[in-house]
């Protein structure tokens, strides 16, 4: 069993080192690329940020892992040698405190600047939509022709009035709902999120957008879609392709099935669709 003991340094380098390098390299080819096509303005920012971080961390990853596997191999035990007595060296320690600090601050600054672009984009005149989450459904409400969402109260919620709309408020009268979430291409969209029961999270994987829907609170998320569903069907060579909205915060038994179809229309199609919808108030009063 002596053989096994002395072969460990070789295992360490061959299996450990080349294994990890091979794994990280192969994964680039085997797995889908993290740098996808940008389907939204936000995805573009994300991919830029992600790329910078990946390059910086990648360099550190390879240097540290290589050293971790090479040092033990080169300096494996020999009774003839004595280890170097090297308890401290201030300059070295300062170097690897300050250099990571500067790199991290660089990442922080570019990330924060872009975070403001995403979390508070100040788009002019966005298309306003409200999405309400419940176990295990998303409901979509549009403000109608007045482009103002009418007020609601949670105490008015019932089977017919799924949003708890307050009919006293005239602005609710032209609000309409939709089974699918329709948005225009290349136009800013602002989605107000609320939840009827537990916390859900509104997640569009293709747009790199995520925001929680919290009961008792209204949250919002803004984005611009840059590829319409029809264009995507051509790109993906899949005539049934649809964008999907998923729930990303554990919300119970059917969390994994809480989906909503998202349709990105050309602007003129969107307007046509928007103007042809019947308000909830009209449906209920007829």
């Amino acid at each position: 069993m002596q053989v096994l003991e002395y072969s460990q340094p070789f295992f360490w380098v061959i299996i450990g080192f080349s294994g990890i390098i091979a794994l990280s390299y192969c994964s680039v080819f085997v797995f889908p690329s993290p740098f996808g096509v940008n389907y939204s303005a936000q995805a573009k920012i994300f991919h830029k940020m992600f790329g910078i971080t990946l390059i910086l961390t990648g360099i550190v990853f390879f240097i540290t892992q290589v050293l971790l596997f090479l040092f033990p191999f080169i300096y494996r035990f020999s009774p003839k040698r004595k280890a170097l007595y090297f308890p401290k060296k201030l300059k070295l320690e300062l170097a690897w405190t300050l250099i990571p600090f500067c790199v991290f601050m660089f990442l922080l600054i570019i990330s924060t600047i872009n975070w403001w672009k995403i979390s508070n984009p100040k788009y002019k005149d966005p298309v306003i939509i409200e999405v309400s989450a419940e176990q295990f459904n998303w409901s979509v409400r549009y403000p109608g022709k007045d482009r103002q969402l009418g007020s609601y109260s949670f105490s008015l919620l019932n089977d017919k009035n799924r949003f708890g709309l307050d009919w006293e408020d005239k602005r609710t009268h032209d609000d309409f709902t939709s089974i699918q979430l329709h948005i225009p291409k290349n136009k800013p969209v602002k989605i107000f999120l609320r939840s009827r029961d537990v916390i859900h999270s509104f997640f569009i994987p293709d747009f790199k957008i995520k925001m929680d829907a919290v009961p008792g609170m209204v949250t919002s998320v803004e984005f611009i879609a840059t590829k319409s569903t029809q264009e995507m069907r051509k790109i993906r060579k899949d005539s049934t392709f649809n964008y999907e909205v998923a729930c990303a915060e554990l919300c119970g038994r059917l969390h994994f099935a809480m989906s909503l179809i998202l349709v990105v229309d050309e602007d003129k199609d969107f307007k046509k669709w928007y103007n042809s919808q019947t308000p909830v108030f009209t449906v209920l009063t007829q």
Partner: protein
């Protein structure tokens, strides 16, 4: 502390005579309700191993479902009973497994199992104390831990099953029985279990802090403490200051659930019924929870930091590089860890400005972590490195810590966290940096101190096989998860076939599941090794790794005086390979012979 012991003795209904006469009573008070730190450490060790295997088994049920969602699992129905419906795992049961796996691994294995075993065992031995400050509190602490584990385990057998809202137990899901079946009795059991656990953990922390501050032997100045003791001390301080916050969060959660107060809930209408909660806010719970939740990962990793430094230095026959920096960086991480909690909440509806503040602190906390990694690497440089299984696991810990630490930069950044939050990327990140790294530290410590604990050597060959299977396995399981996460696969999903975006990764999931089954099975080698070596192992020499710390170089009951710091390996002025802490003179003969 002393007075409590005395009161205990005074009130004891047992007379010494009774104890001497009865074999049974002697057994009970030596091995079950023992106040000896070494016995309590072994109790923690075996309880911790039990929980680690239980938690791993639960993770296999999760992986079985994710890897092979189409498989017929009727063969599991004798064990899982009603939770197997038409050959499929019930989605609620899947979520219960997710919840219980997380709770067990984080609290019972990485917090109490790890700290309870090695802090209790090593602190008195390494600082030259006779025992922990209070043996009675130590014993109470262990039994509270045992009770809390039992309660959580029993909750699996209640009618509606264990809690099913994730280990984070976010309200309203965790409060409303109509939202999730586990929120009926499961959450109540979980809260009860956690409250008892927190009391146990606080008692352990107090005991550790008191011992390290007061009971150091002559000459064991604070600058001469081994890094492992520093690790335990910082863990204890962190636990003492953060666990009470979780306790308060859970009391409010309990109050919302049972007394229908509205700390966390507001405007809820579920199954067509408007509930009377108003004015609360679920974000309050998240803030309180993560105030413990984030320091918790450092509670899990600090002991590993210390132990790995210890093992690397000993096996590289080289003094640890930058001892003051190692201690300072742990201290810095400890302080900063109080200020990073809301990086779990970038998209929770919290003000986005707060997000950038917490992003700043999260980046700053990465600096001391990278200092530690560089110091370990420099310790290896020009060493004389022995590849013992303990050393392999210690270096493996550094490797997985680097991998997981670097992905931490992606999640600390607000922009990329918005995308990878609650996806498999995060699962991969924390399983590397907290899960695997701490477990590697735990196992390394096991291999290293087993001879001291049980007087037998563990089998080296089995140790090597165990390491390679585990090390490769961990990478094969968790590395591909980064890509799943970047493709958007959310965590805690029962299956991915409902979304076309997520479908199409089933082969990767099957691969991960296969790797997980093999890696968990490989842990049976360790279990076998422990019991085999306990019976048939070689008798351990007094100082098998030629280490300098007191536990290897002194016998119990001896008056100890410490003359040096614990990392005197290959000192140039001395002929000796190493100089134990209790040796006054450089040129003593017994040390030179050891090489």
């Amino acid at each position: 502390m002393e007075s409590i012991e005395n009161i205990g003795k005074h009130l004891s209904f047992l007379r010494k005579k009774d104890l001497e006469r009865s074999v049974f009573l002697r057994f009970v008070f030596t091995y079950i309700f023992s106040t000896d730190h070494k016995i309590i450490a072994k109790q923690y060790l075996f309880t911790g191993i039990f929980w680690a295997f239980t938690g791993a088994l639960f993770s296999l049920i999760i992986r079985l479902q994710l890897g092979f969602p189409e498989a017929n699992l009727d063969w599991l129905s004798p064990v899982l009973g009603k939770w197997i419906v038409y050959g499929k795992i019930d989605p609620e049961f899947y979520l219960k497994m997710v919840t219980v796996h997380g709770t067990i691994m984080i609290f019972f294995v990485l917090t109490s199992g790890f700290l309870g075993t090695f802090a209790n065992y090593l602190i008195p031995l390494q600082i030259g104390a006779k025992d922990m400050a209070s043996g009675t509190i130590n014993m109470i602490s262990y039994w509270l831990f045992f009770i809390s584990g039992t309660i959580l385990f029993l909750s699996l057998f209640t009618d509606s099953g264990a809690a099913s809202s994730g280990w984070t137990m976010y309200p309203p899901l965790s409060i409303l029985p109509s939202a999730s079946s586990g929120s009926a009795d499961g959450t109540t059991f979980w809260i009860l279990s956690m409250v008892i656990f927190i009391i146990s953990s606080i008692l352990t922390s107090l005991n550790i802090i008191t011992t390290v501050i007061n009971l150091r032997t002559k000459g064991m100045f604070i600058k001469r403490l081994p890094l492992s003791v520093w690790g335990f001390l910082f863990t204890a301080i962190l636990g003492l200051l953060t666990f009470p916050v979780l306790l308060s969060a859970l009391i409010l959660l309990f109050s919302d659930k049972v007394l229908h107060t509205s700390f966390y809930l507001s405007n809820i209408s579920i199954v067509g019924e408007a509930l009377g909660y108003s004015g609360g806010n679920p974000l309050l719970y998240q803030h309180l929870f993560w105030f413990l939740g984030h320091p918790e990962v450092y509670i899990a990793i600090f002991p590993a930091f210390g132990i790995v430094s210890e093992i690397i230095s000993t096996n590289a026959r080289k003094t640890i590089f930058g001892y003051p920096a190692m201690v300072t960086s742990m201290f810095a991480i400890m302080v900063l860890s109080f200020l990073v909690w809301a990086h779990h909440m970038f998209v929770s509806g919290m003000n986005p400005f707060l997000g950038s503040v917490f992003s700043l602190t999260s980046f700053v906390i990465a600096v001391p972590s990278s200092v530690k990694v560089f110091n370990w690497l420099t310790t290896l440089w020009k060493g004389n490195i022995k590849f013992t299984p303990a050393m392999l696991f210690a270096m493996g810990m550094v490797s997985v810590f680097i991998t997981g630490g670097l992905t931490g930069l992606f999640v600390a950044k607000t922009v990329s966290d918005m995308v990878v939050h609650d996806t498999y990327f995060v699962v991969a990140h924390f399983h590397f940096v907290m899960g695997s790294a701490s477990v590697f530290g735990f196992i390394a410590a096991g291999y290293y101190w087993f001879p001291r604990m049980f007087g037998k050597m563990l089998n080296m060959t089995l140790g090597y096989i165990h390491f390679w299977l585990t090390f490769i396995g961990v990478y094969l399981i968790f590395f591909p998860m980064h890509f799943l996460g970047l493709s958007g696969l959310p965590r805690r999903y029962y299956m991915f076939t409902y979304f076309r975006t997520f479908d199409g990764f089933s082969d990767i999931n099957a691969f991960i599941s296969t790797a997980a089954i093999i890696t968990v099975s490989a842990q049976l080698i360790l279990l076998f090794n422990i019991f085999y070596s306990l019976k048939n192992g070689k008798k351990a020499p007094k100082n098998p790794w030629l280490a300098t710390t007191l536990e290897w170089n002194t016998t119990e009951g001896e008056e100890i005086e410490v003359h040096r710091w614990p990392y005197d390996y290959s000192v140039p002025e001395s002929e000796a390979d190493f100089i134990p802490q209790n040796v006054p003179d450089y040129k003593l003969e017994n040390t030179t012979k050891n090489l």
